[in-house]
Amino acid sequence: SAVISQKPSRDICQRGTSLTIQCQVDSQVTMMFWYRQQPGQSLTLIATANQGSEATYESGFVIDKFPISRPNLTFSTLTVSNMSPEDSSIYLCSVVFGNSPLHFGNGTRLTVT
């Protein structure tokens, strides 16, 4: 199976700053997604990362807050902008190969102070 590398694995950031999370897959994927998992909660889809075009955001998430890039088939970034303590979560990159189910990266554990 493919290797999904996500970094950083964790970070502690000050409010008002921004953090960019990277996701690299070692093979071409059909689709890439970014999920958020707040402490003790389920997974919520933030957006679908589209290659070479703007991401498709789910209700409640906007590009200004969570800009996403996907310059090619194997790499994507998610930026959490102007962070507040409410943004403290695990952010997970996930991919789909063909009709496969979701495969998740190890996640980025973000704490905003």
Binding site: T30, L43, L45, T48, S100, P101, L102, H103, F104, N106
Partner: protein, 113 residues
Amino acid sequence: GQQVMQIPQYQHVQEGEDFTTYCNSSTTLSNIQWYKQRPGGHPVFLIQLVKSGEVKKQKRLTFQFGEAKKNSSLHITATQTTDVGTYFCAGMLPRANAGKSTFGDGTTLTVKP
């Protein structure tokens, strides 16, 4: 919008006891997936169910998909300490894009040795 309810939220069992988690959707699903997330880890795909009434087994784990394709269950026989974690179901609507599944809230299983 689509809702996926999962119960119970928590389950604490003695090692050797059985465990079941239930998942119910407000709408008919195209398929349902089950994931396991160990403490501190990321969700890992377990299985996907597609057909009405489908039953699949993985060693001590039995997965069922309801006849109406609106509910599912995961049953673990004779739990072991290695079964500890949070089990999520994720339902996909017909004609939905791959990866756009709706996750249940998860059932966190703890096992007392």
